[in-house]
Symmetry: C2
Subunit: 251 residues, 2 copies
């Protein structure tokens, strides 16, 4: 049988992975934060099946490996081979689950999105401002400690100009952002907060906390410590909270 004949008899069987626009997928992911299984549930739930389960686990392992590699090397710096190796599978096998490197990258971003967006959404007008802000700082620092790669990945994406994330930023994120700006304004109006500029306060909270993940090398080089050390974590939490709440000027 010639090669040509073979080609005709057995037409190439593309893996049945849908190829959506990365950006579109991300927006959807951002919208359904905390409701991930919704779509699946709607279109009839078959039993998980032991095989499917194993598949999910492997897929998760791949994403984890990919996160690590992407966060350190970036989309361009990371090679599919390297990720496959980190995941303990062959390159071809990795490509079986994620048709292209970029698709994999989007999947990783998608997975980190809820983690990334969550802390901000947690405070509302009823809360005590000082407490809510302290809680936000704590939540973001915990994230910087336990998932620095997620923070770094998003930082990397921002530095690239956020080609994939921009729709998320100006869509779902902006919605949350605006809502929280309103909350802070209300607090300030009620005199429960000094008259700060709400958007800048939010940026400040993000910057102050993410810094310990994104610039961890620098922090380590200058202080010799990192958030993974309990004492330093606590020290950082206290310092950031004190600074934000009370400022530098002696009272």
């Amino acid at each position: 049988m010639t090669d040509a004949a073979a080609k005709i008899v057995k037409p190439p069987r593309k893996p049945a992975v849908k190829r959506a626009s990365g950006a579109r997928k991300l927006v959807k992911a951002a919208q359904s934060v905390g409701d991930i299984k919704a779509a699946e549930a709607l279109e009839g739930h078959r039993a998980p099946g032991p095989r499917e389960r194993a598949g999910e686990a492997r897929k998760a392992a791949i994403l984890k490996a990919a996160l690590g590699v992407f966060a350190r090397l970036g989309l361009d710096g990371a090679s599919v081979e390297a990720i496959a190796q980190a995941a303990g599978i062959s390159k071809a096998n990795l490509l079986y689950y994620h048709p292209t490197k970029e698709a994999l990258y989007v999947a990783v971003l998608e997975q980190g999105l809820s983690l990334w967006l969550a802390p901000l959404s947690r405070f509302s007008e009823g809360d005590d401002p000082a407490e809510a802000i302290a809680a936000l700082i704590d939540a973001k620092l915990v994230l910087s400690r336990d998932h620095p790669e997620v923070s770094r990945l998003f930082a990397l994406e921002m530095l690239r100009g956020a080609p994939l994330l921009k729709p998320v930023l100006s869509g779902p994120l902006k919605a949350v952002f605006d809502a929280k700006v309103a909350v802070i304004e209300a607090w300030a109006a009620a005199g429960r907060l000094a008259p700060v500029d709400p958007p800048h306060l939010i940026f400040a909270l993000w910057a102050l906390t993410q810094h310990y993940a994104d610039f961890a090398v620098q922090v380590r080089a200058l202080t010799g410590k990192s958030l993974s050390e309990k004492r330093f974590m606590e020290e950082t939490r206290a310092a950031v909270t004190a600074l934000v709440l009370d400022g530098l000027r002696p009272r």
Copy 2:
């Protein structure tokens, strides 16, 4: 004349560019901040010459182009061809000035280093704390506005784990850092400042200001503005300064 003969008659003439360890070069650069011409002056100064002058200018243009490309795409994402194109020359010509892509990258980093390190070194114990800090914030914001690519390049390098910068971080930078920590401690001890944690204060000042360069896309997506707009620049300066000096709690 055969090719072989030609080879013998005209042995390859390597460009006279010294190939130093990237990291070592960076440390030296960091140490001689503000004293760039020192070495040159020592080893006998010939007149600049018109050709040499033009060469310098071209070299500067290359560095500028490279900064732009590296800051957006990263070391791996940037192709030598793309940089050459941005500089308006051929790839081979670019490689004539900088023997390897990494060497070019180091040169770019080196060039940004003084800019990067300068603002912190500017305050001393004699200054008024509030003024000195406000000045630092202003200086860093100006830098974020006028040279965001420099900020982004360094951020990128940090996210990579700073393989090239680590010696600078734990050497020259740590020296300045420690000195300024002492200054802040003195201020606090004299009661001129609330009892903040000095290292964390410095991190905070960096994080708060660099954020507007590194995460400019996000800032733009959420507020529609950027530091290049005069009003927004001023607004940001005021907000950050107020937050740092007075905090959130109403007085």
